[in-house]
Each structure stands twice: as structure tokens, then as C-alpha cells.
Symmetry: C2
Subunit: 200 residues, 2 copies
């Protein structure tokens, strides 16, 4: 505890220090920034945090955070319900939505398989995905997991688990990212780019 | 605005993005960390922010943040009221208190002179310092400002302003920090260390 600050300031410093990647020095900076703000701003900030308690629900279909029992994407009649894009985190949905390319729906796993951190298949929304595929008669499942060890493992596991359902399973393309330099691309990325080459 | 998140989540992301040094990506990480916390935790966090509104006052003597009209240091009868250590920010008081070396009191300027950012002498608690020195018949004023351009300018300005009051004015020693390597010390630090050498 930072005994050299008054109680409310120490308490807020300790709350901010809990945030991922934030140490006590940065937390101090946040608090002294906030102390200088006006009453309305602080009320708004405080209210928005307490709003998370009552207002944030989990969409009963895709398991993303939502303010209603089903999220705006699952509710949207224009979205193609037979194509499900499987992601690990809500941030991934936001990233994909920014492209304005995808017209299907999503399924939030809530993480990726990671035995070392005790994330086993039963901790992820996998059973729910299986039920959903059966119920909605899905045509395609796009696995949009990060191209790293955990993401690959999870993709492989999902591929095995979903295969009996006779549904098309795809994953996002691997290759050179835009603006990159061939000279500095790693071998795996270049191999993927070669294997995935397309006629133009 | 991050239109791809629900309203309360977007709002909280934008509040966190206001914090110094925090971009939207980090703010997102904070929000998704918080969403996973329990009700009591979020209530506590929210309450602590709104507590800043009513509970945090400015100490009428030293101008540091306090929960009473005078802070615990100014209230402490064991502290030597005739020695005032002048600092720029509340964090500096906390840093000095951690040494357990200093028995005097503090005066928080609220910043350092910086004409480019329109911090002129009237924006700092300098008149209050002058009045306090006269009233308390201070014996020593320790200038504990950062050894950088703004800190030096402010120290020089304070020295000029306080000189007519006939009070001893000192500043924190300059020299080699503990654990440093002579070989890599910069010239100014080494010059200061030579000039300030002491018999052992």
C-alpha cells in the first residue's frame, strides 16, 4: 500500500494497478490525472464502470458481450446465419467488423486452448458451437484464431471436433501482411505465402 | 467511436483512452479485463472514482491533495514547521516520504514554470508560499524540483523571489545516483559530483 497518499487516492491507485500491464507508477499518473478532472467527468467515468455490472450481458447465441440477451449482430436479419466465424475474444470480432467485408455471424470461444494455463476444451464455448451448427444447419465455419501455437492447436482441435458434422471448415489466409518487406519476412510466413499463392 | 462494441463498452473504452499514455487498444484490454470481474469489485472501482469528487480536497497549508482541509503531514505536531520542502507534484512528496529522512513540511507548487505550456508564476502556488514563509517564520526552504530545464528555471525564479525574505534556501544535492557507473555518467552529473564532493 502507498501509505503516503490519502485513503481514496491509495485505493484508486491500487485499482488501476490491477489493470493488465499497469504498474503502481502509471496508476499514480492516472489518479493524478483524474483528480484534476471536473465533477461531471468523474461521475461519468464512475457510472460507466458500474454500468458494466447491470448492462453487460452475454449474447445467448454467439457469447459475445452485449447489452441485450442477443447481440446486435445475431439480431441483424441481414447477416447470413449459416456462416459462423469462430473467434477467441470480443476484440477479434471488432477487428473483423472494421473490414466491412464479412456478412456472416460470429461465435466467441472465450479464449484458446492452453493446457499450461488450464484452459481445456470444456472452458471454451465449444459445446455451444456444436449445438449451434446442428440447429442452424450451418454451411461454413471460418476459424479466425491467431496464427500462433495456441491458436493453431485450437483450430486443429475444432477441425477434429466439427468434422463429423459435415460442415465446410475454413481458416483465415496466411501470407504476407500489407506493407511488409519480403526481405524481412520470416520463413514460415514466406512458406505460407508461397503455398497460398493465387493467380492474378 | 468504436461502433463495433456495445454502448457501455465503447463509452468505457473512450474514458480509459483519455488517461495519459493510453491508446484505444490498451483501453480495450482494460475494459475486457474489467468485464470479467465480479460485481463487488466493479462497484468498489466505480465508487473509488466517484469518491474523488467529494473526498479529495486541497490542503489549505501545503496545497497537496488531502481528505481533510489540512493534510496529515501539516497536521502532524511532530513535523518541523520551520523547514519547508518545495515540490512540483504530489508524487514527489510521496517519494520523499518513503525515505523516512525528512521531518519538515512540504509545499506543493502544482507544477514548474513552463512558458511554452503557459505555466507562468501566477499559475503556481508561489504567493501562498511567500505568505506561509512570513507567517511561519520559516528557517529553511528546500527546493526539491527535478534537475531539468523547467525545474532549474523554477528553482532560480524561487531563489530570486524568496531572497528578500531572508530565509535559508537550499536545493537537493546533485551527484552520482546509487548503483550508477562512473564510466557511463554524463558530464553534467560528473561535474556536479566533483563540485559537491565531501570529505569522508
Amino acid at each position: 500500500m502507498r501509505q503516503h497518499y490519502s485513503e481514496s487516492i491509495s485505493k484508486l491507485i491500487s485499482y488501476f494497478s490491477d489493470l493488465p500491464g499497469i504498474g503502481p507508477k502509471t496508476a499514480e499518473k492516472f489518479v493524478f490525472y483524474l483528480v484534476k478532472q471536473n465533477k461531471e467527468y468523474l461521475q461519468g467515468f464512475s457510472q460507466t464502470i458500474s454500468d458494466l455490472i447491470d448492462r453487460i450481458k452475454i449474447c445467448s447465441i454467439c457469447h459475445n458481450y452485449s447489452e441485450k440477451s442477443t447481440c446486435s449482430i445475431c439480431d441483424n436479419s441481414k447477416r447470413n446465419k449459416t456462416v459462423i466465424c469462430v473467434v477467441a475474444r470480443p476484440q477479434d470480432i471488432a477487428a473483423l467488423e472494421k473490414t466491412h467485408e464479412y456478412q456472416g455471424v460470429y461465435h466467441m470461444l472465450g479464449g484458446v486452448l492452453n493446457p499450461l494455463e488450464e484452459v481445456t476444451p470444456d472452458k471454451l464455448n465449444i459445446t455451444q458451437l456444436l449445438e449451434r451448427i446442428k440447429k442452424d444447419k450451418s454451411k461454413e465455419i471460418i476459424l479466425a484464431l491467431n496464427p500462433d501455437i495456441e491458436g493453431e492447436t485450437t483450430s486443429l482441435y475444432l477441425k477434429k471436433t466439427l468434422q463429423p458434422l459435415n460442415v465446410k471448415i475454413t481458416r483465415l489466409a496466411r501470407g504476407l501482411p500489407m506493407g511488409s518487406d519480403l526481405e524481412y519476412a520470416d520463413e514460415v510466413t514466406l512458406t505460407n505465402a508461397l503455398k497460398g499463392r493465387r493467380e492474378i
